[in-house]
Symmetry: C2
Subunit: 346 residues, 2 copies
């Protein structure tokens, strides 16, 4: 696969700005990546494009690849995921059109762009790249365990898919709003597309996972903050190893524990009870202290997406009183979130 | 690399018996793999072979590949490791001779056999296989967390390279001597060569590491024991993620904690103090309870290789009194080891 390019080679960024590709989908739930890019990287998205018959829109202007290229776009990003992560035949004409128009293609699906022969051929003919953000960079090191300069915050979950990425994005944004130098550090596909760089922790060979996490947040200015996107959960029966490698390699000074209000079972593993927030804090501090003895928990990010405003406020207050820590839903912001941010900096 | 074959495809075993290849080395320390095979798989080793000028011997009969083939050998195993894990040019003639004589080649070095063109060509011409035991099997699943039938024992270390493999081999041997149905389950290269099968946990992609561990010790008869080779340490700054994935996926009923008497710093990471045996037991039981709430620690395997007999006996007795658990050095055996085995079965 001669056109396959890993997502991050040294600190190389993805080609931006993006044109967002929405495929042929009619179900908004499959367009999470596109919505995430619109919400968190709007200034680097020139517009959207899709197959005929697609009905989902991000609200960004509709542009053909040629129009997007003329407006400065450098790549078209696949912003949707089918169940199974395949690239259906209907997507080929628009993908080829993008290559023809001078855009690189960027994808994060299970199916690799470079595994599709017509795309490979067109990329070669047009001198374009097929970039799969699920490909970890080559030559990852074994972790050294050496303490790095700069400050680090890691979001740690009670489970998968409950807001670790959004919490890290919101915290990085809030730190920058306070005039601090802060970077969001992406450890998963969507985060990498948003940040324009990062390492897909789940795709790294196990022996190098902590080393990859070290590479993800390198030495920095003592006042600089890296806000690192967490993965999985230390209590997850399938992914705890990834979470521990990320915790050790990130050597965070601060953790924020992420939980979804009302979730009681592990997503996709209903025979496993979710660990409590208290247990998750305790375990993360115990394990994290191995590479950073000064680790502390600043508070909890509580996903109250399923609740009305009053119920959400009550859930946040109840959890805060129970835990004796700042609790906030970053999507709702307000005073609770400001207190959580302050505690991160304390 | 059309001749590359993963080490374990389903439960396929390596081609045995072996001819052991000792390269061109003159330093016994580089022949650990060959010595391990002689010690633990002697009945599946027909003899040894080496380059001219090599001085290290396992004591097995010297055989040419053709003689070994005539005695039933089916593969030649690279039983030595150079610093760097390379295959020097001087090894090529004997490796080609083995392929010509009808033997497959089995290697566990960093350098892949199938990456060497003359070997690839000769393997194709002679219809032989180049098997790299560092290649994990394809199609590994994400862990399910489902409780499996049969009984499982995992060796858990305070560090790397202090006897987890030898302890597991000795325990599996002792269980079989007591008439029990027991298998040694290999999770590293040398262990895989000894067992003739297994999964190299360190080479698995992180998201599938616990799933690989589940595959390594599948459902079995309720009275059957799998004795699983541990990897790394839960407190290791580089490899803890691998250790946790192996612990979760193995869902052991029993752990035996392995420690080297007198070791105080993490091997290769001298700025890290070794965790105590007590801390290692406590952490492994807490984390392991996630996938097997009935997990217990049967005792400690204490590597006393650096001590004389009297000092070793004293070290074993002192540790046993301090911990209130059976402590033994499996290499010394005797009453202490018998007590450790009994406690595993209790």
């Amino acid at each position: 696969m001669p056109n396959a390019v890993p997502a991050l080679r040294e600190a190389e960024a993805l080609p931006q700005p993006y044109l967002l590709f929405l495929g042929d989908i009619t179900e908004p739930g499959y367009a999470k990546t596109a919505f995430g890019l619109r919400d968190w990287a709007a200034e680097r998205c020139v517009g959207e494009f899709a197959c005929e018959g697609a009905t989902v829109s991000t609200g960004l202007p509709w542009l053909t690849p040629a129009q997007a290229r003329a407006l400065g776009a450098r790549s078209m990003v696949i912003g949707v995921a089918n169940p199974g992560g395949r690239i259906p035949p209907a997507w080929l004409p628009p993908l080829l059109e993008a290559l023809h128009a001078g855009l690189d293609l960027v994808g994060g699906l299970h199916a690799r762009l470079a595994a599709i022969e017509p795309l490979r051929n067109a990329a070669r003919v047009h001198g374009r790249r097929l970039i799969d953000v699920r490909e970890p960079p080559p030559g990852l090191p074994v972790a050294s365990g050496r303490k790095r300069t700069g400050r680090r915050l890691l979001t740690v979950g009670t489970d998968c898919a409950l807001g670790k990425k959004y919490t890290a994005l919101a915290l990085a944004h809030a730190l920058r709003e306070r005039g601090l130098d802060a970077d969001f550090r992406a450890s998963g596909q969507t985060g990498i597309l948003i940040a324009g760089r990062g390492i897909p922790m789940d795709a790294v060979v196990a022996d190098f996972a902590a080393g990859a996490a070290e590479l993800l947040s390198p030495d920095a200015d003592p006042a600089h903050w890296d806000v690192i996107e967490g993965q999985g959960s230390l209590s997850h029966p399938a992914y705890a190893g990834v979470s521990l490698a990320l915790l050790h390699g990130s050597q965070p000074d601060v953790i924020v524990v992420c939980h979804a209000h009302g979730r009681e079972r592990v997503l996709g593993h209903p025979h496993y009870a979710l660990p409590s927030v208290e247990e998750t804090i305790d375990l993360a501090l115990r394990l994290g202290a191995r590479t950073n003895p000064a680790i502390r928990c600043a508070g909890v990010s509580l996903n109250t997406g399923g609740l009305g405003d009053d119920a959400a406020t009550r859930a946040i207050e109840d959890a805060g009183a129970r835990l004796g820590l700042p609790v906030a839903d970053p999507m709702r912001g307000g005073e609770p979130f400001a207190r959580l941010v302050e505690r991160c900096l304390a």
